[in-house]
């Protein structure tokens, strides 16, 4: 019974319900083109959510991801404009993301600061650096071959390249998180950090690695974002961190750490994306869209708590 009531299973069911409702109410919803668009729109959020899931499971959070994305985008634009080859720029942008993540990780693990505070700080810092790098300019005209990689579908499928990459990475993260000692270590750290430490887990080193992964992925997402929109700007991706965290929470990962599944997060990402797409097809205004997503998020955080309150009471009754 408890298995069936797990939140991530419910999110999966909700996802199917949204999909069914969409197919019934809107003729343009369940078309290959539309779903491909909707998936493409989720690319960066989905990629970053993978790294964020591991962080939140280990009871940490990285709010600076959208700013790292912006910094990476600004760097891509500025270097491209300066005449550097895109093949050089892309690894540099990803590397910059890794360095941003390293700084976050060092501040959290070496100085023992709370990641919420550290990454709120670097959220502002990295966004500021993005403006230093590119200023108020917008750089366009990226090479069509590379833009196609960010925008187009894998030939013969309705799956955009970034989503194909996401599927691949999700498989890796899924195995690591749910079938390896390292994954178990993340849950242990999230559930009881001190106990994990005494059990021999190198807590600080693991956390540092998670932040570096988070930064690297965000840096890469910046490249994808820039090429997909064909426009490098310092303000690219503002606010994406909230969408990512919303998806992770909606997917049933506990903000206190130690709980949650990657499957739930993937369902959460898809649910947010498809719901938004469906509301847009139904000409629902942006304000109502925000309200619906917001309510859904509150319900997702509230329901498991209510269930855990109600369940003992039920058991106690004769």
């Amino acid at each position: 019974m408890a298995r069936v009531l797990r939140w991530d299973v419910l999110v999966g069911a909700l996802l199917i319900a949204v999909f069914a409702a969409g197919s019934l109410t809107s003729p343009s919803f369940a078309t290959v083109d539309n779903l491909s668009f909707a998936l493409g729109d989720l690319g960066e959020i989905a990629l970053i959510a993978l790294a964020m899931t591991m962080l939140v499971v280990a009871a940490e959070v990285d709010l600076s991801v959208a700013s790292v994305l912006g910094l990476s985008s600004a760097l891509v634009g500025s270097l491209w404009d300066a005449g550097m080859a895109i093949e050089t720029i892309i690894p540099l942008a990803v590397l910059t993301g890794a360095v941003c993540g390293l700084v976050n990780g060092l501040l959290v693990t070496r100085l023992g600061l709370p990641s919420l505070a550290v990454t709120i700080g670097t959220l502002a810092l990295y966004r500021g650096l993005a403006y230093v790098v590119l200023g108020d300019r917008a750089i366009a005209q990226f090479p069509p071959d590379y833009a196609a990689l960010a925008l187009n579908d894998v030939p013969g499928t309705p799956i955009p390249y970034p989503i194909a990459l996401f599927v691949l990475l999700a498989a890796i993260v899924g195995v690591v998180l749910h079938a390896t000692g390292f994954g178990r270590a993340l849950y242990a750290i999230g559930a009881q950090e001190q106990a994990a430490f005494f059990a021999g887990i190198r807590v600080k080193r693991v956390k540092l690695l998670l932040f570096v992964i988070s930064g690297t992925v965000a840096g890469f997402a910046g490249v994808v974002f820039t090429l997909r929109y064909g426009s490098a700007r310092a303000d690219n991706g503002v606010g994406i961190e909230l969408a990512v965290i919303a998806a992770v929470l909606l997917g049933g990962v506990d903000f206190d750490g130690g709980k949650g599944t990657l499957g739930g997060v993937i369902a959460g990402v898809l649910l947010i994306g498809l719901l938004r797409n469906l509301l847009m097809l139904g000409d629902v205004s942006t304000e109502i869209q925000s309200i619906v997503t917001g309510l859904l998020l509150i319900v997702s955080v509230l329901t498991p708590r209510l269930v855990s309150l109600v369940r003992p009471a039920l058991k106690g009754s004769p």
Binding site: D41, M84, I86, T88, P91, A98, D136, D145, S231, L281
Partner: protein, 356 residues
């Protein structure tokens, strides 16, 4: 692998790749441009009737911008005149990427034409091309998309005329002398940047040699940010004599700040604003003169232009003409541009005749 080693390996990888040459800006820009995807092969038939039951969608920069609401509503009204159906949808923020998913949605919904005020001329390009590939006509209005991504651009006024007239308007009020600043929308707003280019050119003329442009500030078409940017300008440049704000959000925020500050009467503010937004500031003498075209006519013209395109009266080529309802006949200019007309100057004497 430790994070340190991971970083080092990535760095080496980057350097390794850097060593070989690759795709650079010059190698891309020197390549021949792809052939335009437009249906230029189709022939225009000026006498074709406007099709009945056309479905149009207006996609403004952001839906909560009062100016854009006026434009779009006029366009929606115009559609009723030719038995068409139009709606307005759009994002709540004016960022480059937020219009993309709307373009995709409108494409899926199967509209005959999408009318867009582009937040970023290039960012919207890919999805607009995809829409055109499905036979949807694209009309940019208010703020242009890259010309190869749309069929027509309805320009509110000739950009050159707007830019130069703003400088003339301000110069006349400050006696051609003193430090001036510009408070613009976002740094990438296509129309504002074009106007500013012509403002700078106009300022280069000898009669403005005593006027000095000290700063172009960006309020991002956000009321609060424009307000604080104005505040910042006053503090950074104590000798400031005048501000031009060529955006309706910027000028009203700047006026609100100046009207409540010690700079009222010392710093001259002008720019582009709507009469309803600016009325109180003209009455309290914060602002003497400002300019704008008629936004209702802009939406109306865009709506008719889209209908003419879909009905095959025009294809978007230079020299073609179409009838725009009560506005009469219009001609398509260079690069598919249709110009609405010269900007109109509002002051205390005439402002009460307008309500929008």
């Amino acid at each position: 692998m430790t994070p340190m080693r991971l970083t080092a390996v990535t760095a080496l990888l980057a350097l390794g790749v850097a060593a070989c040459s690759g795709t650079t800006k010059s190698s891309v820009t020197s390549a021949p441009a792809p052939a335009p995807a437009s249906s230029s092969a189709a022939k225009a038939d000026p006498n074709a009737p406007i099709k009945q039951g056309l479905k149009l969608a207006f996609l403004p920069k952001a839906i909560n911008n009062p100016y854009e609401t006026i434009v779009d509503n006029a366009g929606i009204e115009a559609a009723k005149e030719y038995q068409g159906e139009a709606k307005e949808v759009g994002p709540s923020d004016a960022s480059a990427s937020s219009q993309i998913s709307y373009i995709n949605t409108l494409t899926q919904q199967g509209h005959d034409a999408i009318l867009i005020a582009a937040n970023d001329a290039n960012a919207v390009c890919g999805p607009l091309q995809q829409a055109r590939a499905k036979g949807i006509k694209i009309v940019a209005y208010d703020s242009d998309a890259a010309p190869e991504c749309r069929d027509l651009f309805i320009n509110q006024a000739s950009s050159e005329e707007v830019g130069r007239s703003q400088v003339k308007l301000l110069a006349g009020m400050i006696g051609n002398k003193g430090d001036i600043a510009i408070l613009s929308a976002t740094a990438n707003a296509t129309n504002q940047n074009t106007w500013i280019k012509f403002m700078k050119d106009e300022l280069g003329k000898p009669e403005y040699k005593d006027m000095k442009l000290v700063k172009v500030a960006y309020g991002d078409d956000d009321d609060q940010k424009s307000f604080t940017q104005t505040q910042g300008l006053m503090q950074a440049y104590p000798n400031l004599k005048g501000i031009i704000s060529p955006t309706t959000v910027g000028i009203s925020a700047a006026a609100r700040y100046i009207s409540g500050s010690k700079y009222k009467g010392k710093v001259v503010l002008t720019g582009l604003g709507t009469p309803n937004q600016m009325r109180q500031f003209v009455k309290d003498k914060t602002v003497a003169k400002f300019a704008l075209w008629n936004p209702k006519d802009l939406g109306y013209l865009a709506s008719y232009a889209a209908a003419a395109l879909v009905s095959g009266q025009i294809t978007g080529a230079e020299g073609e003409t179409f009838k725009a309802g009560k506005l009469g006949e219009r001609t398509i200019g260079k690069q598919g541009e249709v110009i609405l007309g010269p900007p109109f100057t509002f002051d205390a004497a005439n402002i009460d005749q307008f309500d929008y």
